[in-house]
């Protein structure tokens, strides 16, 4: 886990100091530990007092640059102000602390799970699994379970999720191999050698890519050109075949 320390530049520009955020895992943690220290009733928090202590603590811990803590401080001060408002009709009064209490309880509940995970994790940490597995030939990968409808559902998800839903339509356009053959022939008339990327640009339609590919293969078969890829993934080089031309 990343070391959760923040190096904060001191406002006066003096030596930077390091705040150990590990002491508390967040503002709720700090708040709960204050409540525990003071042995307060979580359902009836003296909000003015706790707000004051919270502020004092984040000041001494140097946490006042940590936005999450500041946000909580502001929240406490807001609640404190609301508590001071005249209540009016007692029945309609909603305790401004209610939401905070709910969050504290929820957080405390989560901490209980953390304790459990910590215990179990520590037990597991004390046992080693097998690490040395003698090098066998890797078995062929298991067959892939994947249906077309799953793929299409994924397309649908992407379409609906995309910020700009501009996934191209695949246009059912017939392949135009003769057209591609003509283009390739024209290019090879001009130059003895062309690159694949010079024929097919990056946003070419799949149908054009396929047509070009088929056209190339056709012309190679006819002996009009040679297709050459110097290394895997390299650009494909297409050369006029002098022998074919002569023939």
């Amino acid at each position: 886990m990343a070391d959760e320390q923040l190096t904060l530049p001191s406002p006066t520009g003096e030596a930077a100091f390091v705040v150990d955020l590990k002491a508390f895992s967040g503002p709720l943690d700090l708040l709960l530990s204050l409540i525990r220290e003071e042995q307060l009733d979580i359902y009836d928090i003296p909000i003015a007092r706790i707000a004051e202590q919270f502020l004092a603590r984040i000041r001494t811990l140097g946490l006042n640059d940590a936005a999450d803590y500041l946000e909580m401080a502001a929240r406490l001060l807001r609640i404190k102000a609301q508590m001071l408002l005249p209540r009016g009709e007692e029945e309609a009064w909603e305790d401004p602390r209610a939401e905070l209490v709910r969050r504290l309880l929820e957080y405390q509940q989560m901490r209980e799970v953390v304790d459990l995970l910590e215990r179990r994790g520590e037990e597991r940490r004390n046992q080693f699994a097998r690490t040395f597995v003698p090098p066998d030939a890797p078995p062929p990968p298991a067959p892939l379970a994947l249906s077309l409808s799953e793929l299409l559902a994924a397309v649908d998800r992407v379409l609906r999720a995309a910020r700009r839903p501009n996934v191209h339509d695949v246009v059912s356009r017939p392949l135009n191999v003769p057209g591609a053959v003509a283009i390739i022939r024209d290019l090879l008339q001009l130059r003895a050698r062309v690159l694949w990327t010079e024929i097919v640009n990056r946003d070419a339609e799949p149908s054009f890519v396929l047509s070009t590919l088929l056209g190339l293969l056709e012309l190679a078969k006819l002996g009009e050109l040679r297709v050459h890829q110097p290394k895997p993934f390299a650009n494909v080089e297409i050369e006029r075949d002098a022998a074919g031309e002569a023939a």
Partner: protein, 181 residues
């Protein structure tokens, strides 16, 4: 040991992760499932009674052989293996929330923890303890997270149901905020 128990032992020894029962059963297509579980029990008994340095445990949705805890220190001292780093409190809190509320989005986790969890989510994801399970329907269709089988393995849980139910937790929001009198 029975031939089936020996076969299971061989497979379990060869694996760095728990093997699900269904996969163990495939080792011998002719063995009924009951025979496989009986052989697992036999193997576990054998390790316990006979006195071995390892034991057979059920966790992470499968079965795994692990060294006994009493030898950990000596093995680590001899630098033959080392224990993984402990998770930080921030990571544990985030995992606890995801384990209970999955699928859950980042904003909801931050709401419960009261802090930004971007960095923690990233590192939990890199460790393979959580995964993206999809997107929610909400505004911006935020990513949803869930725990992985490795999470169970890491905390020696057989399955997620082994975690106490929310209402079984001690302070499980048992007392509703008392109405103001």
């Amino acid at each position: 040991m029975t031939p089936l128990a020996k076969l299971l032992e061989a497979a379990l020894f060869a694996s760095a992760h728990p093997i699900p029962l269904a996969e163990l059963a495939e080792l011998d297509p002719e063995a009924p499932l009951a025979a496989v579980t009986a052989a697992l029990e036999e193997l576990r008994e054998h390790y316990n009674v006979d006195g071995h340095g390892v034991e057979l445990v059920e966790l992470g949705g499968g079965w795994q052989i692990l060294t006994r805890a009493e030898y950990t220190e000596a093995i680590e001292r001899a630098q033959l293996a080392s224990r993984p780093q402990r998770l930080s409190a921030a990571a544990l809190e985030t995992l606890a929330i995801i384990a209970y509320r999955q699928p859950i989005g980042r904003a909801e986790i931050e709401e419960i923890r009261g802090v930004n969890v971007g960095g923690v989510l990233k590192s939990l994801h890199e460790r393979g303890l959580i995964e993206v399970t999809g997107r929610s329907e909400g505004v911006g269709r935020p990513l949803q997270y869930g725990t992985t089988p490795l999470f169970l393995e890491h905390f020696a849980l057989r399955h997620l149901q082994e975690l106490p139910r929310a209402d079984e937790l001690a302070i499980a929001l048992r007392a509703e905020p008392t109405p103001v009198e």
